[in-house]
Symmetry: C2
Subunit: 425 residues, 2 copies
Amino acid sequence: MTHDRNASFPGNAEAKGVIPTLDGKKEVASLEKGSTVLGTKVLSGVSLPAAIIRDEALTHNLAWMQAFAERHGAELAPHGKTTMTPVLFERQLAQGAWGITLATAVQCQAAAAHGVTRLLMANQLVGEANMAIVASLIADGVDFYCVVDSAENVAQLDGFFAARGLTLQVLIEFGVPGGRCGCRSAEEVLALAEVIHEAPALALAGLEGYEGVVEAVDPAQGVRRYADTLVEVARTLHEQGRFTVAAPLVTASGSAWYDVIAESFHAAKLTGRLTPVLRPGCYVVHDHGLYREAQAAVLARRGDLTSALEPALEVLAQVQSLPEPGLAIVALGKRDIGYDHLPFPLRRYREGGTANQILSTEGWTLTKLMDQHAFVQLPRDTQDVAIGDIIAFSVSHPCLTFDKWRQLLLVDEALDVKACLSTCF
Amino acid sequence: MTHDRNASFPGNAEAKGVIPTLDGKKEVASLEKGSTVLGTKVLSGVSLPAAIIRDEALTHNLAWMQAFAERHGAELAPHGKTTMTPVLFERQLAQGAWGITLATAVQCQAAAAHGVTRLLMANQLVGEANMAIVASLIADGVDFYCVVDSAENVAQLDGFFAARGLTLQVLIEFGVPGGRCGCRSAEEVLALAEVIHEAPALALAGLEGYEGVVEAVDPAQGVRRYADTLVEVARTLHEQGRFTVAAPLVTASGSAWYDVIAESFHAAKLTGRLTPVLRPGCYVVHDHGLYREAQAAVLARRGDLTSALEPALEVLAQVQSLPEPGLAIVALGKRDIGYDHLPFPLRRYREGGTANQILSTEGWTLTKLMDQHAFVQLPRDTQDVAIGDIIAFSVSHPCLTFDKWRQLLLVDEALDVKACLSTCF
């Protein structure tokens, strides 16, 4: 076994995210350790494909969503599963976020290791090895919350944490019939609260829901009704004295319906009794597909919003072959970019050019994505295309693009690299 | 910027692949450095979801494919993009592989950093940053080959490598009309060979093809005809004295048609003049979907094969919620497993049980996969199911499962961990 060779070759242990210079290896190694690489030019000095984040759009999005939450009297706990990028967690917290939402115990462990001290695991905590991770976080002082939706899981958690003399803060998950996890009715929630009340190692800290699985003829109305019910059930729990923490949470929202959830929470005037928490994740880099569509719907619902989120994430890749008229094969594949929606060419540059020297991609369509290759159809008479041309591709959605990279490049408007952002998937 | 915190928290810097013990963090840290974790039990001591590789099946597959290639007088250069797992490269080379095939310059850099000294990049080398990586490998003594299919790329490569006083070994890619990269005809190949002949920094080292994009009414016949043509064109190049290396290569084959390619190469009696090289990748862990089907076709074509490849890769995950009769939500998502074919439950275990205590999954179907959740339909009257039950899921295909993990667990038949295998995507 020599897989611990990693230790000896930090600069070359990972195949992605390296920024070699033309001089060779040494700088690669130092760059991978996280040093800032101010000025490296994506259009000439970076091994492509690479995922880039436009800092201007990112900065805008960070401020925009924080302000949105604050205007609605809600706390923001951005879903960190989207990026698993500690530098972005840090910027979200610096912007005023209440904490970071995550999906698994190991994601929480990674975030805590990078300094995040309040974690909302919007998911059931299952398995003793995962419980052990969380026990370790709580013992280290992390303000940790997870969700429960069954008496069986309550018993498992109570047994595990009681044996270690620790208290676990839990939120009951309120789901919908035909949905994903979660109690299916208010009655089930209230009955589970009673079970939790009898579990000495558990502290009931709030009520959690996810509106993304609500189905209704009028989706916005369905989501609003769901949010209203969530608030109502949380109030009932409060009146019954079921919460055993100071500021119990009521929380919902992904990146598509956050406006409706925020309005419902706001209208309920919860301040002082319940803490409303929004959990969008993808907003941080937004996208060019699924969430652009969702945002159009938000703007249609909310005439008062004058600015909106901006897509910040792109993947850049190069034309590697022009084997037939009308066909370019690009060095970009399923290994590099999410493909729930097929990416499309946004812009084209000549290698070594500058960010404002944009070449046309009119009529260019990505038609097929293999593991390491993309098929791009061009107008058959396209003349101005060269092997090595750099195409910026749209991304949708962000979660399944971030997880393909160990490092993403934060760039300025000139496409110069401002920093390498490490992910911790 | 604090993304260099990675350096201070090696044990917690990554969210996946950690093997915590119930005692907490310290051991996690040491395990992540690559120490062997003999005896850790997947069914009780490992944070799930986790990707496992069954060593017995892996060992069988490694030997099987090497023997297959040797019986056909061919060298084996397994496509390493599938796994990007240096320990597996090492086992493939120890088994007798001629070298490792890869798809990108950074993949080659990662493999070389882990000791691989012969690399076949079955792809065009594009972009000065990628050329710089390869220049550095060649300067370090790596026996490197890549493919070309255009005079434009030849000129770019010749310019770059000539300026550095290095020679780049290239193979002409022979494609098919309507296919991916590659020259579309023998005439184009011969013309490109002439261009390469005039490029002092390039050495023409062989002819490369990929039969996976051949389309024909009778696919096996189409692939055979393609392989025969590949050999014929390589012979013509040889006769014309176009090859400038001692043992020029003729190479093709993914994991679906390797038998047909091998037969064609074998029948051509190339020994001594050309070096036939096969490049299957997925065979190393095989799968339960796409490649199981492909293998059934291989066995149907080849009555002489008495044993076959065995699926070695599975992803294990736990039931986290049983919210309605007939529905289990499992902590497994698109973040954890390939989904070109939806995974299906293979086996079920109780947490803390042993590998031979298998519970039924009869009538269980994974119907939907979200980023971090799987919907599994069960018979509505299922009684014997618990929160925390561990389900082993099928994988297809392997490439898009490996790239979701920074470490995979090599396990024995008892599902005890034999080693943590790091990937270098």
